[in-house]
Symmetry: C2
Subunit: 128 residues, 2 copies
Amino acid sequence: MNPDIAISEAESVVMDILWRAHPASADEVIAALAGQQDWQEATIKTLLNRLLNKGAIKADKDGRRYLYSPLLQREQWLSQESDSLLERLFGGRVAPLVAHFSKQRKLSRSDIAELKRLIEGLGNDDAN
Amino acid sequence: MNPDIAISEAESVVMDILWRAHPASADEVIAALAGQQDWQEATIKTLLNRLLNKGAIKADKDGRRYLYSPLLQREQWLSQESDSLLERLFGGRVAPLVAHFSKQRKLSRSDIAELKRLIEGLGNDDAN
DNA sequence: CAACATCGATTACTCGTGTAATCATCGCCA
DNA sequence: TGGCGATGATTACACGAGTAATCGATGTTG
């Protein structure tokens, strides 16, 4: 479908704002980022434009300004990013990844509980 | 300790060779990469040098050439990469990450089995 | 109506990265 | 022993990303 839209790190920060609340004007995005990122307004405008040019967001005219909304879905982006890491680092297998976190003691007690619940709810799916 | 050595994508491909078998001469690295990457020798030499300059590998003189070995450990790099992704995308929690893969049907049957085993070997702090 | 404010678009500049050619050094063979 | 070949070092160059200033259009207001 959507041929993978590549989002840079800085761009993804802007996307995050829009995923949380859209549509949003440039000003609203800038406001939301103040205190979180130390960016000039101009910087954020540039990022919005780059996102626009690569089709990751759309802009609807609202009087003299625009209201921005995401086109790229957060879920899709999550998949792109995490699949790529999974592939590159763990040969595409999830278990080794979890094993890694477990080895690093990155699993909180609630993680473990949640995983238990998750795994148990899976037993009978499809092939491979 | 080691203040995060940043490795680029291409560099990590070279590291992978060295992690698999070290020390290795430039020629051996080049040989190992032939057929896997479509890089000129010069490109690989450059990557080796950049890795050297950033302290990710070391070079021991062996006659007229060098033998390269990793300094940055694979485990450490895996952690850098996966922790950063986990933080950025899933707020640092492992369970949501696994949930994501599960939702995307990225869990193979053997993944599930392995995860089951893994998780079971963990929960022995208190009951349940 | 003219000056001004606002907002997006354009332009700019630096750095890292991917990719590679070329340079310099040094041991080896004829 | 002097040129050759191998090997690492240096240099190159385009492109994306981060960061931002400035321009241009357009709407607002006295």
